[in-house]
C-alpha cells in the first residue's frame, strides 16, 4: 500500500462510478439510453485500463500476494473479518480477463438490448464488481460476500433480459449455485471460528486442520465450486442458463463466471487442504475426465447452437479441472491459462451466436445453413474461433490443452496416464461437434430464403471480435508473457503441496 490509492480497490470498485452516473439517467428517453450505454462502456474500459495499471504494478517474479490491502472490518463470534485483498499469479490473469471481457460484452449488447437498458447496465456493472472481488479477496468471508454478490446480478440478467424460459432458467441457476454456497458458508464459518482468522493466508500458514476434517471441508468447498465450474454431474443448470441468457450474459457467464469455480478450487481447496487435495485428486480428475468426454458427446446431437456451446464448456472446463489436480507445473499453469483461453474462445463463440440471433431470431441450426456464402467475414471469423476452441496449434486453446494433458499424463499425484489418455479423446470429439456445428450453420447451400439476405458484420461487431482475435493468436503463438505471470505463484503452490505430500508419507 505504498501508493496513495490501492489499485486493487480501484479496479474492483471503479465500475460503481459508472453505476452511480447511470442512476441519474432515464432510459425511457432514447438520447439518455445512448448516454447510459456510453457511460457503462467508458466505465468498463477505464476499469480495464486500471487493470493494466495494476499489471504494471505487479511484480511477476514475486510468488506472494502483492499490492495487499487489509483493513479490519467486522467481527464474527469474536473472530475478525478483514477487508483483505491481494493479487498474485493465480488471480492476475483472471482479473485482466474479467475487465477485458466486460466492455466487449457491453459493446455486444449495444443493439441487442432495447428494453430496460438502465437496469441491464446497472446489473452488469455490479456483476463486474462482484467477480473482480472474488478474484482478489483473501478473506474467506469477503470471498463469500463477493461470490454471492456476483450471483444476484447474473440471476436478473438471465431472468429479465433472457429469452424464452428465462425465469425458470434463472431460478435453476440460482438454486444450484445457492445449494453449493450453503455448504461453503458453513465450511467458512467453521474454519474461521476454529482457526481464529478468516484470512486465507493465515489459515494456510497455520496448517493445523486434521486430515479427516480436511476431507470434509474440502468436499464442502468443492461442491460449491463444482456447481459453478460446472463439473459433471452438477452441470444441468448450465445449458438452460446459457440458452436463455442474453448474449452478453452468456459471454460473461462462460467467459468469467465459470472460472470462479475453478479459481475457487485453486485458491482455496489446493492451498488450504493440501492433504485432502492429494487424497482426492484422482477422484476429481476422474469427474473431470468424465466431464470432458460426456460434455463432448452430449454437445454433438444438440440442435440449438447455444446448448451446443454450453455443453462444450462442460467439456472444456473438464480440462481445466484435470490440469488443476495434476498438481504439477504443467497441469496447473496450463489450467490457469486455459481458464483465460476458454474465456476468450467461448466468449467469442457466444458473441458470434448472438450476432446470428440478432439477425435471424433463432438458434436452431436447422434454420440456418450456407451462411458463409452470405456473410463471408462472419464465416471466416467464426471458423477461426471454432478452431481455437477445437485446440488447433498456433491458436490459444492448444497451448492450454496441451500443457494440461502433458502435465496430467505424467502427474505423480494422479499416478497413471489413463486420465490424460482418455481426456485426449476429447480432442477428437471436440472436432466432431464443433465442425458439425460449423457445417450445419455455415456450409452447404443456402436453402432458406430468409437466410439469403443476411447482412455481414457491422463495424461495431467487428470491433467486439477484433480484440479477442488478437488475443487468441497472441496466446497461441507467444504465450510466454502469460506463463511468466503465472509461474512463480504456481511453483510456490506446488512446493507447498510437495511438502504436504512428504509429510503424508
Amino acid at each position: 500500500m505504498s501508493s496513495a490509492i490501492s489499485p486493487l480497490l480501484l479496479v474492483t470498485f471503479f465500475p460503481l462510478v459508472g453505476f452511480v452516473i447511470v442512476l441519474f439517467f432515464n432510459d425511457e428517453r432514447p438520447d439518455q439510453r445512448a448516454a447510459i450505454r456510453w457511460t457503462a462502456l467508458v466505465t468498463s474500459l477505464l476499469t480495464f485500463l486500471i487493470a493494466l495499471w495494476l499489471l504494471s504494478q505487479f511484480d511477476p517474479k514475486n510468488a506472494d500476494l502483492q499490492l495487499v490491502i487489509r483493513i479490519p472490518w467486522v467481527q464474527i463470534a469474536g473472530v475478525t473479518v478483514s477487508f483483505f485483498m491481494g493479487v498474485d499469479g493465480l488471480s492476475i490473469l483472471l482479473v485482466l480477463l474479467n475487465t477485458f471481457l466486460i466492455p466487449i460484452a457491453l459493446l455486444s449488447s449495444w443493439d441487442g438490448i432495447h428494453e430496460r437498458v438502465k437496469g441491464f447496465t446497472l446489473w452488469f456493472l455490479l456483476l463486474e464488481v462482484g467477480m473482480t472481488g472474488v478474484f482478489l479477496a483473501q478473506d474467506l468471508v469477503l470471498f463469500f460476500v463477493f461470490w454471492e454478490f456476483s450471483l444476484v446480478p447474473m440471476y436478473f440478467l438471465i431472468g429479465i433480459w433472457g429469452h424464452g424460459q428465462r425465469v425458470a432458467a434463472a431460478f435453476k441457476f440460482f438454486l444450484y449455485t445457492m445449494t453449493g454456497s450453503i455448504l461453503m458458508m458453513l465450511a467458512i464459518l467453521w474454519l474461521g471460528i476454529q482457526g481464529g482468522s478468516f484470512a486465507l493466508p493465515d489459515l494456510v500458514a497455520a496448517h493445523n486442520i486434521a486430515p479427516v476434517l480436511q476431507t470434509w471441508l474440502f468436499i464442502a468447498f468443492a461442491v460449491a465450486f463444482a456447481v459453478k465450474v460446472p463439473m459433471w454431474p452438477l452441470h444441468s443448470w448450465l445449458p438452460d442458463a446459457h440458452t436463455e441468457a442474453p448474449t452478453a450474459g452468456s459471454v460473461i457467464l462462460a467467459g468469467v463466471m465459470l472460472k470462479m469455480g475453478a479459481y475457487g478450487l485453486l485458491r482455496i481447496n489446493l492451498s488450504l487442504f493440501p492433504d485432502a487435495t492429494l487424497r482426492l485428486a484422482p477422484w476429481l480428475a476422474l469427474l473431470a475426465v468424465i466431464g470432458i468426454i460426456y460434455g463432448a458427446i452430449v454437445a454433438y446431437p444438440q440442435k440449438n447452437m447455444k446448448r451446443l456451446v454450453a455443453y462444450s464448456s462442460v467439456s472444456h472446463l473438464g480440462f481445466v479441472v484435470l490440469g488443476l489436480f495434476a498438481l504439477n507445473p504443467q497441469g496447473l499453469e496450463g489450467s490457469i491459462l486455459q481458464m483465460v483461453n476458454h474465456g476468450l474462445s467461448t466468449g467469442a463463440l457466444f458473441l458470434l451466436v448472438g450476432m446470428i440471433y440478432e439477425r435471424r431470431h433463432t438458434l436452431e441450426m436447422d434454420q440456418l445453413g450456407g451462411i458463409w456464402r452470405v456473410m463471408p467475414l462472419y464465416g471466416g471469423l467464426a471458423l477461426t474461433f471454432i478452431l481455437s476452441s477445437i485446440g488447433l496449434p498456433g491458436l490459444n486453446g492448444f497451448v492450454g490443452e496441451f500443457t494440461i494433458l502433458l502435465g496430467s499424463f505424467g502427474s505423480k499425484v494422479l499416478g497413471n496416464p489413463w486420465f490424460a489418455g482418455v481426456a485426449t479423446i476429447g480432442v477428437i470429439l471436440a472436432a466432431i461437434y464443433l465442425l458439425h456445428m460449423f457445417e450445419k450453420v455455415f456450409l452447404g447451400p443456402v436453402v432458406r430464403a430468409e437466410n439469403r439476405t443476411l447482412k455481414d458484420l457491422t463495424a461495431r461487431e467487428i470491433l467486439t471480435l477484433a480484440p479477442l482475435l488478437v488475443m487468441i493468436f497472441w496466446i497461441g503463438l507467444y504465450p510466454k508473457p502469460f506463463f511468466m505471470l503465472i509461474a512463480p505463484a504456481v511453483e510456490k503452490l506446488t512446493a507447498s503441496i510437495q511438502v504436504a505430500s512428504l509429510a503424508m508419507h
Binding site: 454471492e148 458427446i297 488447433l392 500443457t403 458439425h436
Partner: protein, 678 residues
C-alpha cells in the same frame, strides 16, 4: 549441433515460412482489389521465394555438414517443458523443403489459370483469392512441419496442413452430394486425421515423460539409453506415432478420408493429397529413425501396414471409374510403398520414392485436371447457350442448374473415365505428359519410378522377403490400373460429346506439366544405382544408412511385371471397351471380386455404419435419456421440492429492478448482521 553462426544462409530459414505468410496476408487483405492474375502471381512468388531459400539452405549444407538449429523465438516454457520456435536444417528437412516449395511453386502456377475457370464453372469468381490464401497457408504449415526442431512444432505444422486440407476439400462447400457432400468430405478428413493426431499427442506425452524433452536433438541422443532401460515405452511411442502416420498418410485403417478428399479442386489433390501433405507420415517415421530402429517389432508393424495398404488400395484403384478416384487410391497404395520402406528401415529408399512420387503423382493429378477442364470447357461452351453447367461427380443434384440438366440426361460427368476416350489426338501435350507419368509410376525403365520402386524392392529382398512379394503384386496392379486409365482416357474413340470437342488447355497450364514430366522422367538421376546421390546426401542426417542396392535380376523382374501389367491393360481395354454402356472388361474376368473392388470392399459403408452411425446413436442416448432424462431430472426433482417449500418467496418477486437492488443490499446487510451478532 552447430549453432547458426553466420556460416552460409542458415539464418534465412524462417523465411521459408515467412514468405508464404506474407503472400497469404497480402491476398487476404488486398485479394479482392488485386485482380486474379496478381493474386496468383503474389501467391506463386511467395512459394517460389520459399523455394529459393530452400535451395540456399541446401547449398549451405553442402559446405557446413550436420544439422543446424536456428532459434526464432520462445514458445511454450512451463516447468521442465521448454519448446522454442526452432528450425532444424539438415539434409532430411532440406530435401522435404525443396520438394514442398518446388512442386508447390509449379502447382501454384498451374492453379492460376485452372482456378480462373473453376470459379466460373462454380459461378462464384469472388472466391478466387481465397483459394490462394489457403494454398499459401498450406505451404506455410507444411514448411513448418518439415523444418521444425521438435515434435511439438512438427505437430503445429501437422495439424496446420490438416486444417488447409479441410478448407480446400470444402472449398466448394455448397456443392457435392445434396449440396453438402464436399463439406462432409472435408469434415471427415479433419476428424479422421484427428484420430491420428490423438496417437501423435499420446506419443508426445510418452516421449516427454520418458526423455524429458520434445526437441529432436535431445530425444535422439537419449534414444539408446531410454530404450535399454524401458523397451516397452519406446515400443508404445512408435506405435502411437504410427497411428498418427496412418491418419496423415492415409494408411490402413485410417485411409478412408483420402478418396473423399478428391472433392477439392484438382490442384489441391495434386499438391496436398498426393505430393506433399500425405507424405508427412513418411517424413515423420524417417525423422524419428533413431527411435524406430530400436524397436524391430514396431518396425515390422509399420512395414506390414504399409505393404498391406499398398496392395489393398491398388485393388480398389483397379475398379474405379472416376479419374481422380483412381489416382487417389493409387496415392494410398504408393504411400504404402513408402511406409513399408521406412518401416523396414530402408529410409533412403522411402525418401527417394517420396520425391519421385511427388513428381509423377503431381504430374498425373494436374494432367487429370487438364483432362477434366478440357471436357468441362467443351461442355461449358456447348451448354452456355442454354444456360446449363456441366456436372461433376456426385453433384448432379446440387445447385439450381445441374439438377435440370441431369434430369434431362444431358450433363456428362466430366470426371468419369467412361465418358472420355480418344483424347490422345485432342489434347496432345496432356496425353504425352500423362503417359510419362503413368509409365513412371508403373516403374518402366528409365523413368524415375523405376529406380525408386526398385530400390524399395531391393531393400525388401534383403530385409523382409514377405513384404517383397506383396509389393511385387502391388507393383503389377499399379501398372494394370494405370494402363487401364491411360487407355480409357486417351485411346479409342470419344465416348461422349465433351470428349469429342475437348481441346488442349492454355500454355500457363501445360508448362508446369511439361516441367513435372521432365522431373518425373529424370528423377531417377537423383539416386542412380552406384552413384547414390540422395543416399549420400541423406546419410548426413540418417546415421548408419546402408547404401541402396541394385539387384539386376530383381530389377528385370520388376520391369517385366510392370510391362505385363501395362500390356494386359492394353489387351483388355483397347478393344474391349468402346462404348459407355459396355461392361468393364475386368468384370467379366473377376466377377464378384470386381464388385468388391468397385465398392471399395465396403470399407466406407462399414466405417459409416459402425463409427459414424454408432457414435450418433450413442450421443443421442447420452443427450436424451441420460442427460435430460436422468441427470437433469434429478436436479429438477430436488428443485421443485424446494420450490414447493418456498413457494411464498415468489410473492416478493415484483419485477422492479430497483426493489431487487434494494433487496440485494438488504440481504447483504442481514447476512453480515447475522454473522456479527452470532
Amino acid at each position: 549441433m552447430v549453432p547458426g553462426d553466420g556460416n552460409g544462409f542458415f539464418y534465412l530459414v524462417p523465411w521459408v515460412v515467412f514468405f508464404p505468410l506474407i503472400g497469404l496476408l497480402v491476398n487476404l487483405i488486398f485479394g479482392r482489389r488485386l485482380g486474379e492474375i496478381a493474386v496468383g502471381i503474389v501467391a506463386s512468388l511467395a512459394v517460389g521465394l520459399s523455394f529459393v531459400v530452400s535451395v540456399l539452405l541446401a547449398f549451405s549444407l553442402g559446405i557446413v555438414h550436420g544439422p543446424v538449429v536456428a532459434h526464432l523465438a520462445d514458445w511454450i516454457s512451463v516447468g521442465s517443458l521448454s519448446i522454442p520456435w526452432d528450425f532444424r536444417i539438415d539434409t532430411l528437412s532440406t530435401t522435404m523443403m525443396l520438394v514442398v516449395s518446388g512442386v508447390g511453386t509449379l502447382i501454384h502456377i498451374y492453379a492460376i489459370p485452372y482456378m480462373r475457370r473453376d470459379v466460373r464453372y462454380n459461378s462464384d469468381p469472388g472466391r478466387y483469392p481465397r483459394f490462394f490464401v489457403y494454398f499459401n497457408l498450406f505451404i506455410l504449415a507444411m514448411m513448418l512441419l518439415v523444418s521444425a526442431d521438435s515434435y511439438l512444432m512438427t505437430f503445429v505444422g501437422w495439424e496446420g496442413v490438416g486444417l488447409c486440407s479441410y478448407l480446400l476439400i470444402g472449398f466448394w462447400y455448397e456443392k457435392g452430394a445434396a449440396g453438402i457432400g464436399n463439406a462432409k468430405a472435408a469434415k471427415k478428413a479433419f476428424v479422421v486425421n484427428r484420430i491420428g493426431d490423438f496417437g501423435f499427442l499420446i506419443a508426445m506425452f510418452l516421449i516427454f515423460w520418458g526423455f524429458g524433452s520434445l526437441q529432436f536433438g535431445t530425444v535422439f541422443s537419449k534414444a539408446g539409453q531410454v530404450a535399454a532401460a524401458n523397451p516397452g515405452l519406446v515400443l508404445a511411442i512408435t506405435l502411437f506415432l504410427l497411428l498418427g502416420v496412418t491418419g496423415k498418410s492415409a494408411q490402413l485403417p485410417l485411409f478412408v478420408w483420402l478418396p473423399d478428399a478428391m472433392a477439392g479442386p484438382t490442384p489441391v489433390s495434386a499438391l496436398i493429397h498426393a505430393a506433399t501433405m500425405v507424405t508427412a507420415g513418411v517424413y515423420l517415421v524417417t525423422r524419428s529413425y533413431p527411435i524406430f530402429s530400436l524397436v524391430p517389432a514396431a518396425q515390422s508393424v509399420v512395414a506390414w501396414v504399409g505393404a498391406a495398404t499398398a496392395i489393398f488400395a491398388a485393388t480398389i484403384a483397379l475398379a474405379q471409374t472416376d479419374i481422380k478416384k483412381v489416382l487417389a487410391y493409387s496415392t494410398i497404395s504408393q504411400l504404402g510403398f513408402m511406409i513399408a520402406a521406412v518401416g523396414m528401415g530402408a529410409f533412403a529408399a522411402g525418401m527417394f520414392h517420396l520425391v519421385t512420387h511427388a513428381f509423377f503423382k503431381a504430374l498425373l493429378f494436374l494432367s487429370a485436371g487438364s483432362v477434366i477442364q478440357g471436357l468441362e470447357e467443351a461442355e461449358h461452351a456447348k451448354l452456355h447457350s442454354d444456360g446449363r453447367h456441366p456436372a461433376r461427380k456426385g453433384e448432379k443434384s446440387s445447385g439450381p442448374l445441374p439438377v435440370e440438366a441431369s434430369a434431362q440426361g444431358h450433363a456428362v460427368d466430366v470426371q468419369d473415365m467412361r465418358s472420355m476416350g480418344g483424347l490422345r489426338g485432342r489434347m496432345r501435350t496432356t496425353f504425352w505428359v500423362y503417359l510419362i507419368g503413368a509409365l513412371a509410376i508403373s516403374g518402366v525403365f528409365p523413368l524415375s519410378g523405376f529406380f525408386s520402386k526398385d530400390e524399395i524392392l531391393a531393400d525388401a529382398s534383403r530385409l523382409n522377403p514377405g513384404i517383397l512379394v506383396v509389393l511385387l503384386v502391388a507393383a503389377f496392379l499399379t501398372a494394370l490400373y494405370m494402363g487401364r486409365q491411360v487407355v480409357m482416357v486417351f485411346f479409342g474413340k470419344p465416348r461422349s460429346e465433351p470428349a469429342l470437342n475437348a481441346r488442349e488447355n492454355p500454355a500457363l497450364m501445360t508448362t508446369p506439366l511439361v516441367i513435372l514430366a521432365v522431373l518425373a522422367a529424370l528423377g531417377g538421376l537423383l539416386n542412380l544405382p552406384g552413384i547414390q546421390t540422395l543416399n549420400r546426401w541423406l546419410a548426413g542426417t540418417i546415421a548408419g544408412l546402408e547404401p541402396g542396392q541394385f539387384i539386376l535380376p530383381l530389377a528385370l523382374a520388376a520391369l517385366a511385371i510392370a510391362l505385363l501389367g501395362l500390356w494386359l491393360a492394353w489387351a483388355l481395354y483397347r478393344r474391349g471397351y468402346s462404348r459407355m454402356s459396355d461392361p468393364d472388361p475386368l468384370r467379366r474376368i473377376l466377377g464378384p471380386v470386381y464388385t468388391g473392388m468397385e465398392n471399395r470392399w465396403w470399407v466406407d459403408q462399414a466405417f459409416n455404419l459402425i463409427f459414424v452411425g454408432g457414435y450418433r446413436q450413442l450421443a443421442g442416448i447420452f443427450a436424451n435419456p441420460i442427460d435430460l432424462g436422468f441427470i437433469d431430472a434429478v436436479g429438477i426433482g430436488l428443485g421443485s421440492a424446494t420450490r414447493a417449500f418456498s413457494g411464498w418467496l415468489r410473492r416478493i418477486q415484483t419485477g422492479f429492478v430497483r426493489s431487487y437492488a434494494l433487496m440485494m443490499l438488504l440481504g447483504v446487510v442481514v447476512f453480515l448482521g447475522y454473522l456479527i451478532l452470532r
